[in-house]
Symmetry: D2
Subunit: 328 residues, 4 copies
Amino acid sequence: MTILFNKDKEFDLIAVGRACIDLNAVEFNRPMEETITFQKYVGGSPANVAIGSSKLGLKAGFIGKIPNDQHGRFIEQYMSNVGIDTSNMVIDNDGHKVGLAFTEIKSPEECSILMYREQVADLYLEPAEVDEEYIKRTKILLVSGTALAQSPSREALLKAVKLAKKNHVKVIFELDYRPYTWKSKEETAVYYTQVAEQSDVVIGTREEFDMMENLDHEGVNEKTIKDLFEHSPELVVIKHGVEGSFAYTRSGETYRGKAYKTKVLKTFGAGDSYASAFLYALVSGKDIETALKYGSASASIVVSKHSSSDAMPTVEEIEKLIKGNNTI
Amino acid sequence: MTILFNKDKEFDLIAVGRACIDLNAVEFNRPMEETITFQKYVGGSPANVAIGSSKLGLKAGFIGKIPNDQHGRFIEQYMSNVGIDTSNMVIDNDGHKVGLAFTEIKSPEECSILMYREQVADLYLEPAEVDEEYIKRTKILLVSGTALAQSPSREALLKAVKLAKKNHVKVIFELDYRPYTWKSKEETAVYYTQVAEQSDVVIGTREEFDMMENLDHEGVNEKTIKDLFEHSPELVVIKHGVEGSFAYTRSGETYRGKAYKTKVLKTFGAGDSYASAFLYALVSGKDIETALKYGSASASIVVSKHSSSDAMPTVEEIEKLIKGNNTI
Amino acid sequence: MTILFNKDKEFDLIAVGRACIDLNAVEFNRPMEETITFQKYVGGSPANVAIGSSKLGLKAGFIGKIPNDQHGRFIEQYMSNVGIDTSNMVIDNDGHKVGLAFTEIKSPEECSILMYREQVADLYLEPAEVDEEYIKRTKILLVSGTALAQSPSREALLKAVKLAKKNHVKVIFELDYRPYTWKSKEETAVYYTQVAEQSDVVIGTREEFDMMENLDHEGVNEKTIKDLFEHSPELVVIKHGVEGSFAYTRSGETYRGKAYKTKVLKTFGAGDSYASAFLYALVSGKDIETALKYGSASASIVVSKHSSSDAMPTVEEIEKLIKGNNTI
Amino acid sequence: MTILFNKDKEFDLIAVGRACIDLNAVEFNRPMEETITFQKYVGGSPANVAIGSSKLGLKAGFIGKIPNDQHGRFIEQYMSNVGIDTSNMVIDNDGHKVGLAFTEIKSPEECSILMYREQVADLYLEPAEVDEEYIKRTKILLVSGTALAQSPSREALLKAVKLAKKNHVKVIFELDYRPYTWKSKEETAVYYTQVAEQSDVVIGTREEFDMMENLDHEGVNEKTIKDLFEHSPELVVIKHGVEGSFAYTRSGETYRGKAYKTKVLKTFGAGDSYASAFLYALVSGKDIETALKYGSASASIVVSKHSSSDAMPTVEEIEKLIKGNNTI
């Protein structure tokens, strides 16, 4: 099965939400207290997906808010340099900052992130700054759950989704749950459900779907998709870590994707690289089964490298890995 | 045409949102600066509708939050005394207060309200305090727009609406727009649209629908209903002040209700008394045209009296006024 | 002993801080839940002292912040009508409200207050709104502790005290401790100490001095005055309820004032009426012992009446009660 | 003239206030947008002074608040490693973060800092976390103005100053004005004046003294010291950049210190290294004129190096530079 996109739209994908900075430990395999040097990369889930897609050849745009400071300008320049349209990135004039993520890589199994997310510009995107004319021009609107965590970004996202639906733009919802910023699990569940029910494609880990359903135990995929398929979604992808991912269609098909063997450096960036390649494959008209392979291969490549955004692979790298067929 | 309700449900109506205190000027026809004495009444749109419906004989319940202070206890006792089930009124333990409205009645045409709405308990209702088992038991869930103005009350309301739909409870949305508390018109439009599209019946003034559509000019009823009937609503009531109100059904009928002549003391409470009697008539199986008369008659009675809640009329008073047929 | 004031100053007293509204139960000797009617009076400690002093014939001014709404205008008009100079009362343009105090009079022994103090205008007085030229013109600057509870009113008060000292204006500090608004006892102690050490006269109850010293038990007057007399104060008045009050001078004298018998209606307003008459006597050149009698007599009169501000007595009433010599 | 310190005290100096992290551009002489690598150092004025003093051989302690995260632990370990007593560094349990300063070095003349100071742990030090027994044990309490910018750190500092004075500990006030966090110039002036008047030694740039005096033009040193010498200060040091610094004593002496020639890399850290060496000299019993030389020499050394804290010089380096006598 393939997903049909509106060929007349100029952009393949417009992502909306946060664009931040990752400060990755240069000296790794040690606690961050002993790391002295950090390297700066663009980060943030929707920014990473836009970068990854753009590197794979999709025509991508971005809606987000950045301050007019050194970090904000770096982000805009980097994204623009990889080919992303940044005409709808809005400048924050209220003193908000770029969010930061210091990554600590103790070992491939022990990675953690020290976040700076207080008063970050991305969460101050206003609904009035989301432009219907811009959204009209894309096949896919990619929304990321973290942008729902706080007003006014929350309302900007709800408005973007509404405009996408009105203009026959496919809404793809990357759950991208991060505990900081959210005030309660109930609140998370309310907005995740609200947006998931209005989306065409929903992608997340099993744990993220559990947040959406406000469960305190692991949920059941069949129950999740039954509820969602009563509303807008036509495709739901649920990721189960090393066990691979499952794609369910409204018409009743189920596909399983397997992870590729790799030498893991860290776990960051897996989800974003997965989404980039999965969307690339769907937009290119490949069937869902193949798209799952693209997603898995791309994730396997990124977890073996130092950054998330800079390390996004090319189509050739992905297809070479798929051809090797060396799955876990 | 009549609306069909689930006869098996124990409650006719459960209202959710604010219950406050009105302090009405005892000496009126003068500016408030010269008023020395104030009388205390229960106020707040959903509380008034619950009180009005209860006086008309409906079985009503209420979901809301009140502090454990003298004002909070007064509200609970008054509502309980008129027959409302208050088992789901939650006590606030975080120092929030009951909202206050000092009313100024300079003349029938010049009424204004001085509001105290900072850190009010009603806006701190948590989603976890909304109980699915309770909502299941009612024919109608009445939601009022003001409860959407701020978190966590906003999420509590969104959750209540979702639970009502899941349990085949009719959702009636009284737009009840009040400018305080809302941060921007865009924000208002986002949530009003979100809830209106999920409701079965939407009631408001033309100005309130303009807020929902984020218009800066007077909107057109036909455009409003066209958009809403693409989603859940089956009945939309748009009030045009002295010109009367219009009821539109999804099946294409339009009804017009006229206002009854009365000696106006003040304008407060008109909307809430309208909603009480309109809902009473619908639940009693009367057709929409008759329900509009009940609403108009009830509103005419309340605007001629000193309070909003205490002055809610009986069925006899309403039917007597309708029989007189003395419309504007 | 008498306190010497600068005779060349035009005002006897300028008070700085809050001017609010009291809503006093018309039906008393019952819980507030059963009170339906409330009467409106000007309230707030420094406003009451200005009103009381003005009624006794002192030339008084007021520095404070009020909104441009019905309650704000009522306060300004009332204070102006009793002869207070209101030229330095600043209008709040940021939507803050007048503070409210609903009084409940269950019995003479059981009085309580339900406060509305969220985002109140008086706590938003800015340091830039305190004018040195105005402060220069008074014999006494009366500061009340509650104005220290929050920024920017806190800084406005600290600035006013500094300007008073610079211009040889006597600073009289009414501790006036109210638990709401303050974040912690430590914070209270820090600012109370800061201001008390810079004042000429400090007046409060024993419990209020305990707050200043951050004690969790009853403190000892001798210790309190020993610490204060190492700094600016020359007179310290410590009130012990029905046991009367003690006045200590830096030069070593101690005076005791006794309470007068009266039929108590409620306890509100006792402190403010005490301060008004005590200051009136001091400014009139009476000795401290006599001033204590004026304070006690004035307090006894106010606690027998319904309001705090409106009930402030005349000189004749006070002197008649003193003459009767009917102390507890 | 020399300043006399209490020889019986165990610590030479206890600093109170912020300990943060500097992220210094590894690639410099370019805008930060083009810098990819950053090096991590301990930063923050009072932390730098404690580190600098400790390296010069003084026995130093620190009172401050840090989170229990990778950055917080790094700070504590670094400070402890250079010999500072960290027993009174308090752990923040409310999710506050370490403040960050990204430094940009475009050229020796064009340096700027990108600050992250939202919800930083150092500004959440509580007055209850300042221990009188600890303060008793030091000759000098060094307070830095930035800690006054916000509650509760502000009250913690006011309390520390009060305790120092009560226990005959010299209070040295480094004005250390930073525009972020402060709400208004009036507010800054109120607290800077409050603390300066209670200090024994006040050190700052001419611009910082202008903030203290709330001037919008350059103030006059003679006026500044006249006002301060009416209160506690006995020594006031006013720095005029490349023109050198002036030290004024209450007894009427004036000393001038000159800057030493150096190859400037950046301007950061000059003030802190100045204070460290100046205090070292004073505590060592050197006269004020000599102490000014130590301060200037230390500043000249630090501005030629990459970090602020790590680059703090030894006594030998300082004395060698002084001996060279190569002043500007």
